[in-house]
Symmetry: C2
Subunit: 92 residues, 2 copies
DNA sequence: TTGTATTATTTATATATTTAAATAAAGCGG
DNA sequence: CCGCTTTATTTAAATATATAAATAATACAA
């Protein structure tokens, strides 16, 4: 049977968290001017680094973001178009 | 502080379930020809009535759907435009 | 009124998610 | 090499979610 919405719900579930929505917003909007590193994200939010890394891994595992490492830093960016579209619907 | 994404994540979380996505799809697409009652929904899916009712209450509590009762039946319909838009993004 | 159909709620259990601290790993500067 | 910075992972505990059975509530029909 088709139309089981398994993948789709997994995508939504990964996005459906206040912190992760905020992270996606940061990566979409402030990535050009400010940084895209974990550290840059952490400076914006007020939560421990490990928590941020964990959220980033959740997003990465679903293919919503991707990270490119240079030195010790990792620059994350949003690669799933649907995530960006959904964010625009939520905050038009 | 603004932009906490609390409401937005609650909306997504309510939608982020295979069964609930399917229910929303049914209500959006088959509501004209087929029925919009809990029973009509149950005939499409293969899960117990109580489970469907519970999913419907979750969607209703977030204002995603609304139900109008006539007799013993309740006709549900999607009232949140964002939910419909998100579904269209997921299944274009 | 009695029974039947439809939907909602309660209860219990299993599973998943969230969080932060602690620790590990990996690269760079001195 | 040593210490520092940056990021990831593991662990444990708290909280939330999902599921189905059982039960309740309601309206209608006979």
């Amino acid at each position: 049977m088709k139309n089981k919405y398994k993948d789709e719900s997994a995508l939504l579930k990964a996005i459906a968290h206040p912190m992760r929505l905020k992270i996606i917003e940061l990566l979409l909007l402030e990535l050009p001017t400010e940084g895209c590193s974990v550290n840059a994200i952490q400076k914006k939010l007020t939560i421990p680094q490990s928590t941020i890394s964990q959220h980033l891994q959740i997003l990465k595992n679903k293919g919503i973001i991707d990270g490119s490492k240079t030195g010790t830093r990792v620059c994350y960016r949003v690669i799933d178009k649907r995530a960006a579209k959904i964010l625009k619907i939520l905050k038009p």
